[in-house]
Amino acid sequence: MVEVFARETPQLLPLEERIRTFKEVNLGFTEEQVKREASRCLQCTKAYCMAGCPANVKIPNFINAIRRGDYKRAIEIICETNSLPAVTGRVCQVEMQCEKACVLNRKGMPISIGLLERFVADLALKRGWKRFECKAFNGKRVAVVGSGPAGLTVAGDLIKLGYEVTVFEALHKPGGVLVYGIPDFRLPKDIVEKEIKTLEDSGVKIYTNFCIGKSLTLKEIFDEGYDAIFLGIGAGAPVVLDVPGVNLDGIYTANEFLVRNVLMKAHLFPKYDTPIDVGKRVVVIGGGNTAVDSARVAVRLGVEEVKIAYRRGEEDMPARKEEVLRAKEEGVKIIPLVNPVRFVGDENNHVVKVEFVKNQLTYMDQSGRPMPVPIEGSNFLVDGDLIILAIGQKANRVFTQTVPELKLDKDGYILVDYEAKTSLENVWAGGDIIRGSATVIQAIGDGKRAAVSIDKNLIGKQI
């Protein structure tokens, strides 16, 4: 008789500790849980889960290795295709990817692939296991610009193939959105540091404080002897709501709020020098992961209340369901179906209230969701002295304005073909700078596609 287990649920940090610290909330599986969860895998011959993975992780194979108790082999299988397993094991939207495709999801009990990956990835980091071997230097040099998930993926894939890889990062710390955007309670920074260290140990060189187009132009990088350049520079520029009062003190873009807290550690001021204007009543505007992350950071700053104001209904929030649930557990309130129309300031030019107008849902829009339309005269005020605008990103022109010959779309994102090639010879691009606001795993998928194409173009052509 085969023992049948239910889907395992991970340990969580106790709520009272959660709301006071930036410690990771999801504690992952114990080894016992990992064994039980892995035993549920049906080992499908036609693995739908793999088709649902932009990083092409051989999911049934690594789960099989786990079942044999061979965790070392499991991480090797994962790292054949994924250079950031401890990251993806935490922040991948698995419910939209591999776990959505899992056959057992038909019964609402998909294998917790993300948490299995996380377990072996963490174990490998802890034990210092070598995850992959690199081929001998093939004589080609690749410059990767931007050290976010797209760039690190290209770096990882190409270093394995024998390329010399140099990563250039504009900030003082590598990792891109993994270090400036995603808070520690979802992705601890020591994990990111260790993942990056693994890449550096395998030969990837990383230069920080380097802003492409400014520190060196694209042409100057080629002049330095690089054979190809991958641009994984992120979308970057936050959208600032165009309503009266948006420049009052106390109103942050989510990017600024997160950069101050996550990268610059403003929550530790004055031990760290970057301040944050904390406030008591927080209103976050937006409904994506960035909005939810911002709200949960605000909770941990010790404010009195945190509200998320979203223009559609709560069920239409694009944020991960699990994170919305966690936010609500932590006391975050959601005000659905509203648009901000004005910010009200006090005599010191500091925001004190937000004026909203209520929305009603009408016909389906292009996204297939009911379109929110303001109800005239339904305006109301909400107290708020810390406002966070998490309403999306647009293309940052800091680099693209320096390369007028690079083809962009109408919104300023870099145009690429199906192989992630740009309009310039030997220049590839991926991640948010080609997609706008996307996810870590989409950026990783772009990086993988670019790495294959770079390899084909630099080496394949010689054969």
Binding site: A170, L171, H172, Y180, T208, N209, F210, C211, K214, S215, L216, T217, G234, G236, A237, P238, V240, D242, V246, N247, D249, G250, Y252, T253, N255, E256, V259, R260, M264, K265, F269, P270, K271, Y272, D273, T274, P275, D277, N349, N396, R397, V398, Q401
Partner: protein, 278 residues
């Protein structure tokens, strides 16, 4: 990298440091800035590049000690390293043949008009300098500016040297006396840039100022440095820092600059107390 190779105190509270930063030295242009982090727990602040030498691979920064970060920077000595220096960031200043140009600098802003003055002069403009400070002992770089400009006018708030009054008043006087000026470039405290802008508006003289908002990343990512220009939101780090003075909303710039005043005071007080006790 980022080792301090030279350091000079120009006057009380104003320092010049020369830093080893070869890539920045190679590609910088007047009007651009660097983001500086003095140490790993520090904040990121923008500082205008005052000079750069590709041969020696060094850049010069001139800064006034106002808070903890600039205090920390002023305490760094020759041979010591700065944790992070990124640049050259921002759009370079427009350097064209304008004709008669006035470069106007107040306080530490005098340092930041030097590279413009030189580039504008090299291009064949007639360049006058108008500089001021609170008092004669606070005046900086007048000789350096005199060696570049066709003429330099100096004023002090207390009248201890040169004309008694603000640079905007001195500029107004020069214009009233009939001097033709086609283009003004002004750098200094917000109130000073605003006053200069008001003077030149009446004469319809094209005027550009270097906006100095708070920045965090300095590469267009955070939006901290947003300013209103002609009613539109612009990011000073990517769209500026130079903006048309007659379009820039100085009031918003000023109020956003003060947003962290209480935190800045606390950081500085804590730091001073620590140093006294330690």
């Amino acid at each position: 990298m980022y080792t301090i190779v030279d350091k000079v105190q120009l006057t009380e509270g104003i320092f010049k440091i020369v830093i080893n930063a070869p890539l920045i030295a190679r590609n910088w242009k007047p009007g651009q800035f660097v983001m500086v982090m003095v140490n790993e727990s520090g904040e990121r602040i923008p500082l205008t590049i005052v000079d750069g030498d590709a041969t020696s691979g060094t850049i010069s920064l001139i800064f006034q000690v106002v808070g903890k970060t600039t205090t920390l920077l002023s305490l760094k000595n020759v041979g010591e390293k700065i944790f992070s220096v990124t640049g050259p960031l921002g759009r370079p200043s427009e350097i064209s043949k304008f004709g008669n140009v006035a470069v106007v600098g107040g306080g530490v802003g005098v340092a930041e008009i030097l590279p413009q003055a030189k580039a504008l002069k090299d291009l064949g403009n007639h360049v006058i300098g108008i500089v001021g400070a609170r008092s004669s002992n606070k005046l900086i770089l007048v000789k350096e500016l005199e060696s570049i400009c066709d003429k330099v006018y100096v004023c002090t708030d207390d009248g201890s040297f040169g004309y008694k009054g603000f640079v905007s008043e001195l500029l107004s006087k020069i214009l009233r006396e009939g001097q033709i000026i086609d283009y003004v470039y002004a750098v200094g405290p917000v109130a000073m840039m605003k006053a200069v802008s008001e003077v030149t508006r009446a004469y319809k003289i094209r005027t550009v100022v270097s906006a100095n908002p708070i920045m965090v990343d300095g590469t267009g990512m955070c939006g901290a440095c947003r300013v209103l220009v002609g009613g539109e939101i612009k990011f000073a780090c990517v769209d500026g820092p130079d903006f048309d003075a007659h379009q820039l909303d100085f009031q918003t710039l000023e109020s956003r600059l003060k947003a962290y005043r209480k935190y800045e005071m606390k950081a500085l007080e804590d730091f001073r107390r620590c140093r006294c006790n330690g």
